[in-house]
């Protein structure tokens, strides 16, 4: 059975992506009520991004490195670790900072965002980056788990 921590990491990351997607959509046609929602949802998204960082980091350091990494490297798809885990663990680090910047912009401008079209577009662009990078994390996670499964199916033991 997969370690529950990896499920929690994926849950937190995916819900952070959904939160910033929600923020992006709300900002297409904002009003006072939707901006109140945007403030709450962006706060939740940011907290989930940081929690995903900590949970994913704990899993990576304490479970993945000892049990999964050697399995993938000895299996038929070592690139799953050597290309995709290596990329994922580093590119992920962009997300909390972009999320924090989006959060600062949203909470600094508040209700003025109804009038400030360019600032709304700036926040939407940052949200889009979070969504795209976040979805690429999910895709790379799929490739990494495929690498581990295929190693097990090939009879690799560590």
């Amino acid at each position: 059975m997969a370690d529950p921590l990896i499920g929690l990491h994926a849950f937190l990351g995916e819900f952070a992506v959904f939160a910033f997607l929600w923020v992006m959509v709300e900002l297409f046609n904002p009003n006072k009520e939707s901006l109140a929602r945007v403030k709450i949802i962006s706060s939740i998204g940011l907290v989930f991004l940081f929690l995903s960082w900590f949970v994913g980091g704990y899993y990576y350091l304490n479970v993945y490195g000892a049990d999964v990494k050697p399995l993938i490297k000895a299996g038929p798809q070592p690139w799953a670790h050597l290309v995709f885990t290596e990329t994922k663990e580093h590119v992920f680090l962009f997300l909390p900072f972009i999320g924090l910047l989006a959060y600062f912009l949203i909470h600094s401008h508040g209700e003025n965002l109804v009038k400030e079209r360019k600032t709304r577009h700036a926040i939407q662009l940052l949200c889009l980056m979070i969504v795209l990078i976040g979805l690429s994390m999910a895709g790379m996670g799929y490739l990494i788990s495929t690498g581990a499964r295929n190693a097990l199916e090939a009879g690799v033991t560590i």
């Binding site: 960082w53 980091g57 990576y60 350091l61 070592p78 690139w79 050597l82 290309v83 290596e86 990329t87 663990e89 580093h90 590119v91 680090l93 962009f94 900072f97 972009i98 924090l100 910047l101 600062f104 912009l105 909470h107 600094s108 400030e116 360019k118 600032t119 577009h121 700036a122 926040i123 662009l125 940052l126 889009l128 980056m129 990078i133 690429s136």
Partner: protein, 104 residues
């Protein structure tokens, strides 16, 4: 936050992304650097995580306290800069590992 602080936060975001990209690649090509990161922080990834936060705080501090001006800023231009740098940095890291594995 004031426009100056938002400008500082943008520069800090760019600084952290560039630091992560540089330290990722440099730690792969320089074994002593990777060993230094791992021995100082327990693991090279913890080192990059902690230091990226340190870079964010230092760059933010520099642009809010040390630098002059920037009392108005262009949010759209800054978001574009963060987007372009993020995409390029992500592609550089991915391209590096692709080249390491398949490039021979």
């Amino acid at each position: 936050m004031t426009p100056k602080e938002l400008h500082a936060a943008t520069m800090a975001t760019l600084g952290s992304i560039i630091f992560v990209t540089f330290s990722t690649i440099y730690s792969e090509v320089s074994a002593p650097f990777k060993t230094f990161l791992a021995s100082t922080f327990g693991h090279h990834w913890i080192a990059k995580s902690v230091l990226s936060v340190v870079v964010f705080v230092l760059v933010y501090y520099y642009f809010t306290r040390m630098s002059k001006g920037k009392n108005h800023w262009n949010a759209w231009q800054m978001a574009k800069n963060v987007t372009i740098v993020s995409i390029l940095a992500g592609l550089i890291i991915f391209g590096f590992y692709v080249n390491e594995f398949w490039g021979g």
